[in-house]
């Protein structure tokens, strides 16, 4: 057990000693700042509106203004009706359920930055795709394997290192979002209730729990992709192939699954299942009969196959 700890430490040391890894982290910071700039420049979020203790009156006034806007401008701009109606519904939900709104804040910023996790996917794929293949490329695989440690343990240590890298990178990203969000928007309450859209309509959830849930779904997705890259890396000893294939699947996987949704068997495609967040939005999965449990099962089966394939090839191969 202590040996495994040392091995994981070695693997992480090899990842973090590289300058390219730190460049990845710089990119993450840059992306979060970019997101902030876009928010400010495009005026896409309303960071001005704040609410006082008298929020109920404020919301009612806001709803009235929104209604007036629909009446006066609705004929020229058909979109105003739908956007304003959504806002009115939200406000009404706040009023009816006695949930105090706080306006745009650091928490909302973190949730809006969910898209930045695709950069973490990319980096996790790069690390996972290289972690075995690079040892072959550098020629160091021979030095690595002639130690009193089984090949299975070495492979396991590399897989654990990939998982830890993914988690650390994601935590770094969230921390960056939080800090930038705090500086730009502040935080009026630690864990306010927020309004979310669920399949059954509007509902509320604690801010922290919503962040945890949304980022959790993303990290699952990332780990599936990384595991796939790890398998290709172990089997074909080529990081280019591993990174290329995983990125290809990352970009087209979900779309392809959607395109095939008319066929019943499409529900067994890995990428029809990897995004569990669809079960918590009004959109839903690609086929009606699919459930969260089903998707978790499909993911588990694929993951086991990926891991067994990596292990079987890595432990049996002649290293020349």
């Amino acid at each position: 057990m202590t040996k495994l700890f040392d091995l994981v430490r070695n693997e992480l040391a090899k990842i973090y000693v590289l300058k390219s890894t730190w460049v990845m982290y710089l990119f993450l910071v840059a992306l979060v700042i970019f997101s902030l700039i876009m928010n400010t420049v495009t005026d896409s979020v309303d960071s001005e509106t704040t609410y006082t203790d008298d929020w109920e009156t404020e919301l009612q006034e806001e709803n009235q203004t929104l209604m007036e806007e629909i009446e006066t401008e609705g004929e020229d701009d058909p979109f105003i009706e739908s956007t304003n109606m959504t806002l009115i519904e939200e406000n009404t939900y706040h009023l009816e359920n006695d949930i105090r709104p706080y306006g745009y804040n650091a928490g909302t910023f973190v949730l809006d930055n969910l898209f930045t996790t695709s950069l973490v996917s990319l980096f996790a794929i790069i690390i996972a795709g290289g972690i075995v293949a690079n040892e072959f490329r550098w020629g160091t695989i021979k030095q690595l394997l002639i130690r009193p440690i089984s090949r299975s343990t070495i492979l396991l240590s590399k897989y654990i290192a990939v998982l830890l890298f993914t988690l650390l990178t994601l935590l770094f990203l969230i921390a960056t979002s939080v800090i930038v969000g705090l500086i730009a928007y502040g935080l009026p309450a630690i864990n306010p209730e927020i309004i979310v859209n669920r399949p059954e309509g509007m509902a509320s959830n604690g801010m922290l729990s919503e962040i945890f849930m949304q980022y959790g779904f993303k990290v699952l997705n990332i780990i599936v992709l990384a595991t796939f890259g790890f398998m290709i890396s172990s089997i074909f000893r080529s990081s280019a192939l591993a990174i290329g294939l995983s990125m290809f699947l990352m970009f087209v996987g979900t779309t392809a699954a959607q395109a095939l949704a008319q066929y019943a068997w499409s529900k067994y495609i890995l990428f029809a299942n990897t995004d569990l967040s669809v079960y918590f939005t009004p959109y839903g999965p690609i086929r009606e009969e699919m459930t969260v449990g089903f998707s978790v099962g499909v993911i588990a089966v694929y993951m086991v196959i990926f891991i067994i394939a990596s292990w079987a090839v890595f432990t049996k191969r002649d290293v020349a």
Partner: protein, 305 residues
Amino acid sequence: MSDATMKVIDLHKDIGRKQIIRNLNFEIHPGEVFGFIGPNGAGKTTTIRMMVGLIGITKGDVVIKGHSIKKEYRKAISEVGAIVENPEMYPFMTGWQNLKHFARMSNGITDERIREVIKLVGLDKAIGTKVGKYSLGMRQRLGIAQALLHSPSVLILDEPTNGLDPAGIREIRRYIRRLAVEENVSVIVSSHLLSEIELMCDRIGIIKNGKLIATNDLNEENDTDTAIVNLDVNPKEEAIKVLRTMPNIEVLETVDRLQVQLKRDDIPHLVTTMVHRDIEVYGVNVTQTTLEDRFLEMIGENVID
């Protein structure tokens, strides 16, 4: 003789239908330096890879300190330190970081031991430099340091003199002799150039086309070996007549000089016979057949690369 540190027993390796290694048998004893010689492609590296478990063994076994590399891999390998092919290390890490990395993979290697090994191979000054900036000679030394960290009983060095200048080769030779004599380590060095490792070995094994075709103890006096002798005698014609009558002597050349081949043991007898027949002997010049000659003879062709 003490128990063998490493026994190679009836080793075979097939890749596809090709037989790469056939029926390899030899032993290495404590404190012995064994030279594993053969032309490129003879199967040296394949054999070494089997010894350290990098590739599977088709038939036979390698037993290290009583542990089979096939069945007790971890016990067997913990007695082995090796460089297989080039001394490849992580180029983006310093020498120290590389050694620390490999030290963590074995049990109980202290920082003090790492420093001791660095001193032994003389890398003190460059240990904080990235390996990417090392010369081949420095990498070779770091490779040896890495292989010695866990104080192995067997040290396997594949082509350790490759790419080194004569001074570097002499230095490596000194480490290896010291390790064998002082630490009682069994050392296997492979090379396709006999002359480069001849001086550091106690014994050599010659491999050709996957078969061990000869082993030779370099420390034994080769009295029974044949010698080629140049004779400076007068009168020459008389001497040739005498030589032709003697058993076990072959006259090789008579035109420019008189050259004969005979057993080394018979040289004194040859001289007394000449003297008794009143032939004046001005010189007897023994040209010893070198190991290199015998090596080339055995492998049957010149080794170019």
